[in-house]
């Protein structure tokens, strides 16, 4: 028995000089680097070409989808394969609000996020009755229902879809260059905002509860965590932000159809690929995964079907060899934690 134990009951007060912190040197460097990178990206419309700007905008939108899916599946344990429901819903809300009800595009994007969160509530109430694989299938069914409903909206082109009318596109900003810069900045703002929001959320008591639930549900509920409410809140937040992302995606695309809007391949399969190869359940994983996914896509997409086979094989290889993804390998080898979530008690050695 250690001396510590022996005196524990007799000396209940802790030694002086203890503190709790989360920052580390690596995390301070990360924050500085992040600020520099973001500032550099803000200036991108002045230094990058049109094609690069468009590609980066698309990357930010995928990054935001990946960070959100990771929060849902990697932290809340809600493995959804139906997030395309919200992406497509966001796209359709943008088109409906601007074309049918005359809402200005930027207001329509913000509004679609709010409506997405509201829609996520009854969806959650319904699919939270399902568990595990049944939950996953349930989310897909919901997405299919959304797709079928969208195909019924004649005013938005029904099954064949429609394009955003030129007046609305022109109302965004004067001239094509300004519009492209604006959509780029919107995508950048969204990605930075989503990462910051998820980081903040995971560091809050809500995040602590989520991590606890992921580790042990029985202990969680016995220690006062309302599991249903915690997961519900996460699902609704992710639903709202995914909808917002969806409206931005289709602002960039300008054309929408039920097939494109509710594509399980584009908005869920690729997103899962990004998170799985990057590292599920870490904040760094989706960022690394997005970079790898786009690097592969830009170099291999010309191969057609073979490109998809390569993606599949790579995903399987990483799942087998490194279940915690490439970021898992990096942090295992180096112990680096760029976005520190864990709290450390300092001053124990004194």
């Amino acid at each position: 028995m250690s001396d510590m134990t022996k005196h524990a009951a007799l000396r209940p007060m802790r030694p002086a000089g203890l503190s709790v912190s989360r920052a580390s040197r690596a995390s301070t460097i990360t924050m500085v680097l992040c600020v520099v990178i973001v500032l550099g990206l803000v200036a991108a419309p002045w230094w990058a070409g049109r094609a690069d700007l468009r590609l980066m905008g698309e990357m930010f939108l995928y990054l935001s989808l990946a960070v959100l899916w990771n929060l849902l599946a990697g932290y809340a344990g809600l493995v959804s394969v139906g997030q395309q429901a919200f992406v497509g819903f966001g796209g359709y809300m943008l088109f409906a609000l601007t074309m049918l009800w005359g809402v200005p595009p930027l207001a329509a994007i913000a509004l679609s996020g709010v409506i997405g969160a509201v829609v996520a509530m009854p969806v959650a109430a319904l699919i939270f009755r399902l568990r595990g694989a049944y939950f996953a299938i349930g989310t897909w069914v919901v997405a299919e229902v959304f797709r079928l409903v969208a195909a019924q909206i004649g005013a938005l082109g029904g099954g064949s879809g429609t394009s955003l009318s030129p007046q609305i596109v022109k109302a965004l900003a004067d001239g094509r260059a300004a519009r492209e810069a604006l959509t780029f900045w919107l995508a950048l703002t969204l990605a930075v905002g989503v990462i910051a929001a998820v980081f903040w959320l995971l560091r809050s008591r809500h995040g602590l509860a989520l991590t606890a639930i992921r580790d042990n549900e029985l202990a969680s509920k016995s220690l006062g965590i309302d599991i249903w409410r915690t997961k519900f809140l996460t699902y609704v937040v992710v639903g709202g932000l995914t909808t917002l992302t969806g409206s931005l995606i289709f602002l960039q695309k300008i054309r929408i159809s039920p097939e494109a809007a509710f594509s399980a391949n584009d908005w869920t399969a690729f997103v899962i690929f990004i998170v799985v190869i990057g590292g599920i359940g870490t904040l760094e994983g989706p960022i690394l995964g997005t970079l790898i996914f786009f690097a592969l896509r830009e170099t291999l997409a010309d191969l057609g079907t073979i490109y998809l086979i390569i993606l599949g094989v790579l995903a399987i290889a990483i799942m087998v060899r490194a279940p915690r993804g490439l970021w898992g390998l990096v942090s295992e080898k180096t112990g680096v934690d760029l976005f520190p979530l864990s709290r450390r008690v300092r001053g124990l050695d004194r």
């Binding site: 028995m1 510590m4 022996k6 007060m13 991590t211 016995s222 864990s342 008690v345």
Partner: protein, 242 residues
């Protein structure tokens, strides 16, 4: 003294197996109650019924005057019921400190400095402070048991349910544990303690109840209960006729 916990005809069965059979008993404010009974008698099930991880088929459970029978486990914890698990249930990927912080922020509803202070004090009190930054999944069995107690304490309970927390400890460790639990009692927390290490139990509790086949078969002053022939027969397996 006011009644803190009251079970009134509480029953629960899984098919033909009855784990609680019309249990009726009370716990007074500040009292320490020991629970005895053979393995499989329904002691842990009784804890599950009180904490809400198991729903009662019949009967009423009252806590602090409220009917909590239909309350969720989380709500009961926030109202002041905390427990330790017989088989430790740590949040394995979180640190020891974070384990206690979950209880302090969720169960006790504290935040910021108040939560941090409580956790560090309780870790010091339970001898876990030096392991505060260790991953809970990598702790030894003894430290996992300490963490069970520490986490329950960080929920700031009015009623603490301890499930075989002394099992497997050495004499010295057991002595330290008894002192810790006595210190907890002094703060006014009511305690229900399931324990096979009878000498540890007798050092703390005011009263004993004995459960077998989900039924309350005896209740009263510890030494009287320990010496009653039916308790010795059922609990200690001493059949006078053989």
């Amino acid at each position: 003294m006011a009644t803190v916990l009251e079970l009134d005809g509480v029953s629960k069965a899984f098919g033909a197996v009855t784990v609680a059979d019309g249990q009726t008993w009370r716990l007074k404010q500040g009292e320490a109650l020991g629970v005895l009974g053979p393995n499989g008698a329904g002691k842990t099930s009784m804890f599950n019924l009180v904490t809400g991880t198991l729903a009662a088929d019949a009967g009423v459970i009252r806590f602090g005057g409220h009917d909590i029978t239909k309350w969720s486990a989380a709500r009961r914890c926030r109202a002041g019921i905390a427990r330790s698990f017989q088989v430790p249930q740590p949040f394995g990927h979180m640190t020891v400190y974070e384990n206690t912080l979950v209880a302090a922020t969720q169960g006790a509803g504290l935040s910021g400095h108040a939560a941090q202070s409580l956790c560090l004090d309780v870790l010091a009190q339970t001898g876990l402070l030096s392991r505060a930054n260790a991953r809970a999944g990598g702790l030894t069995l003894l430290n996992r048991k300490r963490l069970e107690l520490a986490r329950a304490m960080c929920a700031k309970p009015k009623l603490l349910l301890l499930d075989e927390i002394a099992g497997g400890l050495t004499d010295n460790e057991c002595h330290a544990l008894i002192e810790t639990i006595q210190a907890i009692r002094k703060t006014g927390v009511s305690i229900v303690w399931i324990e096979h290490v009878v000498h540890a139990l007798l050092a703390v509790v005011d009263r004993l109840i004995v459960i077998d086949f989900g039924k309350l078969i005896a209740a009263g002053e510890p030494h009287k209960i320990m010496n009653s022939p039916e308790v010795r027969e059922i609990y200690l397996g001493m059949d006078a006729d053989v």
